[in-house]
């Protein structure tokens, strides 16, 4: 219970960067936590259960991104809290650029540069080689730079 309470928000931020939608991010976190519960008796003895939870989340997000579930949410049932409407044009553009990346490239960028994980951990998490992580990360950053409006970059990121 304590783990769920402490990790829900950080996991949701990561999930949001992976999928670009707060509601879907919450679905992903809940799905990942449910999966984690199945193996909790083993996981909670680990040194880093958070790392395991993150791994489950990323796998869930990648699996989910391959599918095309249609969201079923009537307008009146959308929670009344802050959403993308309150975000700046820049953050919307950034999310759009992130969303245009292939799922694994997006995951690589998020794990390397948001979660700040070392290359070997990202490779382990994504079940690929360290070389692949480096090349995917470089490709993703190049693509992001190309997609994001150059004027905004000059103003905000240099």
């Amino acid at each position: 219970m304590e783990f769920v309470r402490q990790q829900s928000l950080p996991l949701r931020r990561t999930a949001f960067l992976l999928c670009g939608d707060w509601h879907r991010a919450e679905d992903l976190v809940q799905a990942a936590l449910v999966k984690l519960y199945r193996v909790w008796s083993r996981v909670h003895r680990m040194d880093q259960p958070t790392a395991y939870a993150r791994r489950v989340l990323v796998r869930t997000a990648i699996d989910e991104s391959r599918r095309f579930w249609r969201r079923e949410r009537a307008a009146e049932s959308v929670p009344d809290h802050a959403g993308p409407d309150q975000d700046t044009d820049m953050s919307v553009d950034l999310r759009r650029a992130l969303a245009a990346l292939p799922a694994r490239q997006r995951a690589t960028v998020v794990l390397r540069h948001w979660e700040d994980l070392p290359v070997h951990e990202v490779a382990k998490l994504l079940r690929c080689t360290e070389g692949t992580v480096k090349s995917q990360s470089a490709k993703a950053l190049t693509a992001l730079r190309t997609m994001i409006d150059a004027d905004r970059l000059l103003e905000g990121y240099r």
Partner: protein
């Protein structure tokens, strides 16, 4: 830009992408309740899995689309409700209503001749057999899937029967929804068709999405694309598009989405 600059840029960019963070929309208690229920269901499913294996072996016959016949789904539904786990571990139920939806789809014989059907392993279940989703965003909706293979290669077909849907909006559609068209029929049914072509290098991945929303809010959503999700990374995914267009045309997909028997 050196490596440190690059990393700083990426980190700042991601922090800005998060933007305004809403309050958490679920309670930890709810997650734990759901997890406990899920564990109970999984235990109960051991028997169910044996049932559905026997069912597939003996009754649920799929004619995988010879050149002379449309794919046909026949056979009696299971006598009892059966839960299986889909491609990513989501539980789904084959119940009496799923059987009725499956029969409606099969009876319509809309899948073109020459198309071979197999399971889309990303979703799981038998091809073009409806299942009820019992967790997640689409709880209580029904879906059917198939990997559809024609002379150009493999693609996907996903059909969802939804309880409540407000409808796709072409007004603020992304640039790669081209065209995106909506029309309302005399009986109040709203049909939206979207030609989805995400920007990417190489052979274009193309998907048709057809949505029918009825006046009571129930909806049918059909998606058919020219890439498969058969689980083989060498041949499936958006980077492995086949053919210039999906194997099933938009007119057929509209016919499918408008089947009156496809109701939640």
């Amino acid at each position: 830009m050196n490596t440190d600059d690059n990393e700083r840029w990426a980190n700042t960019m991601l922090a800005d992408a998060v933007g305004t963070e809403p309050e958490l929309g679920f309670h930890p208690d709810d997650v734990l309740t759901r997890a406990r229920r899920d564990r109970s269901r999984r235990r109960a499913t051991i028997t169910g899995a044996a049932t559905i294996t026997a069912l597939v072996a003996t009754g649920l016959l799929l004619d995988h689309g010879s050149t002379e016949h449309h794919p046909i789904i026949t056979g009696a539904p299971p006598a009892t409700e059966t839960t299986i786990y889909g491609g990513s571990g989501d539980p789904m139920t084959y119940d009496a209503h799923a059987a009725a939806l499956t029969a409606t789809l099969a009876d319509a014989r809309l899948i073109p001749a020459g198309i071979r059907l197999s399971t889309d392993t990303s979703y799981g279940g038998q091809p073009l057999v409806f299942y009820k989703l019992i967790t997640g965003q689409n709880t209580n909706s029904y879906y059917a899937q198939a990997t559809i293979t024609d002379q150009h290669g493999a693609g996907h077909l996903v059909i969802q029967v939804l309880r409540q849907q407000t409808g796709l909006n072409c007004v603020n559609a992304p640039s790669y929804w081209q065209p995106c068209e909506s029309r309302v029929l005399a009986d109040g049914v709203r049909i939206t068709t979207v030609h989805y072509a995400p920007p990417q290098p190489g052979r274009p991945a193309i998907q048709w999405q057809v949505e029918v929303v009825r006046p009571d809010g129930t909806a049918v959503d059909v998606q058919c694309g020219n890439w498969s999700l058969d689980g083989n990374p060498a041949t499936s995914g958006i980077g492995h598009a086949t053919g210039a267009e999906p194997a099933i045309g938009v007119d057929t997909l509209v016919q499918l989405a408008r089947l009156s028997g496809l109701r939640p």
